[in-house]
């Protein structure tokens, strides 16, 4: 059988990305239920740093993934195996998905920058502030972060629905991202 689908690098990055994104959702809902940070209450320190670090790493991962994807395009092309409407929908879904991941990570980092709380990349490199402490900008970027995350979750649901649809039809489309 002829080998089709994305390269193994894209495949591994895709599944790492998927687990990380769901981890970011579930851990953020939990960590926002921890006591507000103070000298005595330091429970938020580790999960917030981890959240920011994972978010920043996701941006790097997605850039690598898009690059590798563009270099090694899977065969056959989507337009050859899907109706034009479905092929267009798949492209739109992916574009919004990538944009929302990028926008949510960037807005999260900017919100953090204006909050006055520093970010240390994987507990090793102190990252520069993008701005001074500013309550209004912090809230603005925090709101953008929140809404882009909700849109991301919705678009992930569409993305997963598409994968399930093709899996139930057993038309071979999902094998592009599901191969060893």
């Amino acid at each position: 059988m002829q080998k089709t689908g994305y390269s193994r690098t894209v495949l591994i990055l895709h599944w790492l990305l998927a687990i990380s994104i769901f981890f970011l959702f579930v851990s953020s809902w939990w960590m926002l239920g921890l006591p507000l940070a103070s000298a005595e209450y330091r429970f938020r320190e580790f999960p917030f740093q981890l959240h920011k670090n994972l978010g920043m790493t996701l941006v790097a991962v997605i850039i690598v993934m898009v690059y590798v994807r563009s270099k090694h395009k899977p065969r056959p092309k989507l337009s050859a195996v899907l109706s034009p409407r479905m092929a267009k929908l798949a492209v739109v879904d992916h574009v919004i998905l990538y944009l929302m991941i990028f926008a949510s990570c960037l807005s999260g980092y900017l919100s953090s920058s204006y909050s006055g709380w520093g970010t240390t990349l994987w507990w090793m490199v102190e990252l520069p502030y993008w701005g001074h402490e500013n309550e209004e900008l912090n809230i603005l970027y925090s709101d953008i972060h929140l809404w882009t995350c909700w849109i991301l979750l919705a678009i992930i649901a569409v993305h997963v629905s598409g994968a399930l649809y093709h899996a139930f039809r057993n038309d071979g489309i999902v094998r592009r991202m599901f191969h060893l």
Binding site: F22, G33, F43, L82, I139, F168, D171, G172, F178
Partner: protein, 192 residues
């Protein structure tokens, strides 16, 4: 559109849909178990008791930024104790081990799910003990949680029960699929 014969180049339909569902559940569970592990590591044993806990720091600007009321802010400090005051000494270690095992099982589920979609005969065989093992892990977790206090039981019993039935469902689906494959293979005419 994809012509019908192209469908024959892959595996059976049951493996395709079961594989994708297994991967989806594996991804969700990997995230959940990682968070559970972190949760227990951070608030499993708070550095103070409810009697000695410091007052929560609830400044007005922080409350506005977080969209919290003063009562909610104070409750957050109390919530940290929900796990420790309702769990026996063994629970933190037990639940962290269950979460670590759950994470490994979840990652294995993603791998086996991919192998089911990209149909490999060994994946159909491996899926049964893997998904069945997950159901057993849920049973162990459920039994442990039953023996804790009401706060922990309220938090975990229902989600664990839900996951148990999901794992049971996919384990039985994998078993039925494997049986179908074996019966189909047995019906094939043998080479002279």
């Amino acid at each position: 559109m994809l012509p019908a014969p192209a469908r024959e180049t892959g595996g059976p339909a049951w493996a395709s849909w079961l594989g994708v569902i297994a991967v989806l559940l594996g991804v969700l569970l990997a995230a959940w178990h990682s968070n559970e592990w972190m949760k227990l590591a951070i608030v499993g044993e708070p550095p103070y008791t409810i009697e000695t806990m410091p007052e929560a720091d609830c400044e007005a600007d922080e409350l506005e930024e977080e969209g919290l009321t003063l009562a909610e802010c104070r409750q957050l400090a109390l919530n940290v104790h929900s796990i420790s005051i309702s769990s026996p000494d063994w629970f933190k270690g037990f639940h962290m081990r269950i979460s670590a095992a759950g994470l490994l099982f979840a990652l294995a589920t993603v791998f086996i799910g991919v192998a089911l979609v990209d149909y490999r005969a060994w994946a159909a065989t491996a899926a049964v003990p893997l998904f069945g093992g997950f159901a057993i892990l849920d049973t162990v977790a459920f039994t442990g949680v039953v023996n804790t206090g009401p706060l922990i039981r309220e938090m975990y019993l229902w989600p664990i029960l839900l996951w148990f039935f999901i794992h049971l469902t996919i384990a039985v689906a994998a078993y039925a699929g494997r049986q179908n494959e074996r019966e189909a293979a047995a019906r094939l005419p043998r080479a002279p």
